[in-house]
């Protein structure tokens, strides 16, 4: 068994093509930002009812996936699963890159992105947003040190384990912070629930691993490096468990709400008659993002198919976007109960009405730009750093194809 050798990837014509494509997405995002900066958010689909739209769906997906992507490294250094160790470095790099992509979208969608310096220098520590600024920047620093311990020669082995544990605990805090952005909102029936934090942690496991599987597959294919099917099947089986956990927390979230009389209206909206949100919930989140990937991964007819890990991961990513769209946009679309016990007959400010939202192209381009930035940063890191093993075949890392 040859030992794991990490080498920078060499640029192939395919890699250049992908890099140019991602660069084009970045330019489109930049154009969208300039456009919105010039004319204001009036040119987006957002309004005074839906104040967080598609950019937030992208940003939160990337941020949640970032903490989840680090799980692969945690599996190796915290939980001692050796088959994750060769890809632990990529896991750390991907985690930082996804977070950078998500934060870029979040910041560039601000009404005043030029005031980022204000957000960095003035803090209201009662705000979960202010905590998150520390949690996000801290995450990047800690994962960078974690990567350093992994890549340095001569450091005692327990350094990696200790940093791995620290990073793992930090990422749990980070996702708790992200979920609590919604959990701490007392005003809206779709939020205001402590379960948002563990729900988001479960989502991060699922989305992060799915994105990791896709990026690892793409990098290995584009740089012509072998990637064992047995290894991928192991990752996929873990992904199926994460899908089940997300469905479990989702079920608990909605069942709890159904017991609370004041929340039944919201539940009816999401589960039964919310139009696009109901479709996205059942079709997108539950079916495409949960049941189908589990079926693909666990059903004997498809479990061993070489395409299953990638197909399941694509479905999880699509389902993840659907889930976040339902949480972020659906949660705002359902009207707040400003006047309990009263029906609103007339209001110039859409009180008591389902809010309309149609994303426009600047929002889509900005969100896609965040994804492109995360992928480009990961690719660039793989180009200049020794993070990707030269040989991830099952034979090389001790996996049997049928395992």
């Amino acid at each position: 068994m040859e030992r794991t050798i990490y080498r920078e990837i060499k640029m192939t014509p395919q890699l250049w093509q992908v890099a140019f494509l991602l660069g084009a997405f970045l330019l489109a995002a930049l154009a969208a930002v300039v456009y919105v900066e010039e004319y204001g958010h009036i040119v987006t689909g957002m309004n005074n009812q839906i104040v967080w739209g598609l950019p937030h769906v992208f940003a939160i997906f990337l941020i949640v996936a970032a903490s989840g992507a680090l799980n692969v490294a945690s599996m190796a250094s915290v939980f001692g699963k050796t088959h994750y160790k060769p890809v632990a470095r990529l896991s750390g790099i991907l985690a930082i890159s996804l977070l950078v992509g998500g934060l870029a979208v979040l910041v560039l969608d601000l009404g005043r992105p030029d005031r980022l310096i204000v957000a960095m220098t003035r803090y209201n520590f009662k705000s979960i947003f202010a905590w998150n600024i520390y949690l996000y920047t801290g995450f990047m620093a800690i994962v960078a040190v974690y990567l350093f311990t992994q890549m340095s020669r001569g450091l005692p082995g327990n350094y990696v384990k200790q940093m791995g544990m620290f990073a793992f605990l930090w990422r749990l805090a980070l996702t708790t912070g992200t979920g609590s952005i919604f959990g701490f909102l007392v005003a809206r029936p779709g939020y205001d629930a402590a379960i948002m934090a563990p729900l988001f942690i479960s989502m991060s496991f699922s989305y992060g691993l799915a994105v990791f599987i896709l990026v690892l597959t793409a990098l290995c294919r584009l740089s012509n490096r072998p990637l064992g099917q047995g290894l991928m099947r192991k990752y996929a089986r873990l992904l199926a468990i994460f899908c089940a956990v997300v469905l479990y927390f989702t079920a608990v979230q909605h069942l709890t709400n159904l017991y609370v009389a004041e929340h039944t209206g919201f539940e009816r909206f999401i589960l039964l008659d919310g139009g696009i949100y109901t479709w996205l919930f059942w079709g997108g989140q539950v079916l495409i993002g949960g049941l189908l990937p589990m079926l693909l991964i666990w059903h004997p007819a498809t479990a061993d198919a070489p395409s299953t890990p990638v197909m399941a991961s694509i479905l999880v990513v699509l389902g993840g976007f659907a889930q976040l769209y339902v949480i972020v946009v659906g949660g705002q679309a359902y009207p707040m109960q400003v006047f309990p016990g009263y029906e609103v007959l007339e209001s110039s400010f859409y009180d008591g009405m389902i809010a309309a939202y149609s994303p426009r192209w600047p929002e889509l381009f900005l969100g896609m730009g965040g994804v492109a930035l995360a992928l480009l940063a990961t690719g660039l890191a793989a180009k200049v750093l020794r993070i990707l093993p030269t040989n991830l075949s099952d034979a090389n890392i001790g996996q049997k194809a049928e395992s």
């Binding site: 204001g40 958010h41 309004n47 005043r112 947003f129 809206r188 400003v338 309990p340 009263y342 400010f349």
Partner: protein, 254 residues
């Protein structure tokens, strides 16, 4: 300085470097942090709070039974006073104050009333604001510091009363006391610029002028004020009382 330079070259070099860094920092501040620079020269929460009196709690009592469903004098007065208006984009136009018509689900009784920032004692918008741009003065007026609002809209997510608006586009002819910078959040200021000079909010004045006198403004901490006497004598409620935010705006006969 020149003497220092000739006598002690190392010290002189150090000073030069320091001067250079200092000038560089000034340029960087001007280039990167116009918001901070503006804030440093006035308009900070401390500046605004300096005019506030901790011995007062300004509030409104809205008598719903006196509010005429066909009257929107309070809304018009607020628009004129603070320089916001219907721009033809109902979904994105700001509304500092709005009229709503409600029907009691159990009794069928219909009422009409104005809704604006409720100036909560424990405002969720202030809790969630990452930079502290949303703040409450010691006299209970909840405001947005327009110099440090980054436009994240978290306060709009948090406000239970839909009282805040995001400025979606450029506005011209703004009032000096109500700056409406694109990309920031705004809401009713309880006409703080008038209150600080001993006047009453524009909506209250306009309601009085119609003869309805549906809105009373005053100091809730002064037991002799009309508003305190009225809330002590008659039943009034807070919107979303279940949230225990103790708004400064109360409604009677709802």
């Amino acid at each position: 300085m020149s003497c220092d330079r000739s006598d002690k070259p190392e010290r002189g070099a150090e000073l030069s470097r320091r001067d250079l860094l200092r000038s560089g920092a000034a340029v960087a501040t001007l280039t990167l942090a116009p918001g901070v620079t503006l804030m440093a020269f006035g308009g900070s929460p401390a500046d605004a709070a300096g005019r506030a009196d901790a011995g007062k709690r300004w509030g409104l009592l809205i008598d719903v039974s006196r509010c005429d469903p066909d009257c929107d004098a309070c809304v018009t007065a607020c628009q004129v006073e603070n320089g916001w208006k219907d721009e033809g984009n109902p979904e994105t136009d700001a509304q500092w104050i709005r009229k709503v018509t409600l029907k009691n689900r159990d009794t069928g009784r219909k009422v009409s009333m104005p809704v604006m920032c409720q100036h909560c004692e424990k405002p969720p918008c202030v809790d969630v604001c990452p930079t502290g741009a949303s703040f409450k003065r010691v006299d209970g007026i909840v405001l947005v510091d327009k110099h440090i609002c980054i436009g994240c809209r978290y306060c709009m997510m948090a406000c239970p009363f839909k009282a805040r608006s995001f400025i979606h586009e450029k506005h011209v002819n703004q009032k000096s006391w109500a700056p409406r910078g694109k990309g920031t959040v705004e809401s009713c200021t309880l006409c703080v610029h008038r209150v600080d000079t001993g006047r009453i909010p524009a909506c209250v004045e306009a309601c009085e002028a119609t003869g309805n006198r549906a809105i009373i403004f005053g100091d809730l901490k002064d037991p002799n004020s009309e508003i305190s006497k009225r809330v002590a004598e008659y039943s009034s409620i807070a919107l979303r009382a279940d949230l225990d935010l103790n708004p400064g705006v109360r409604y009677s006969n709802l």
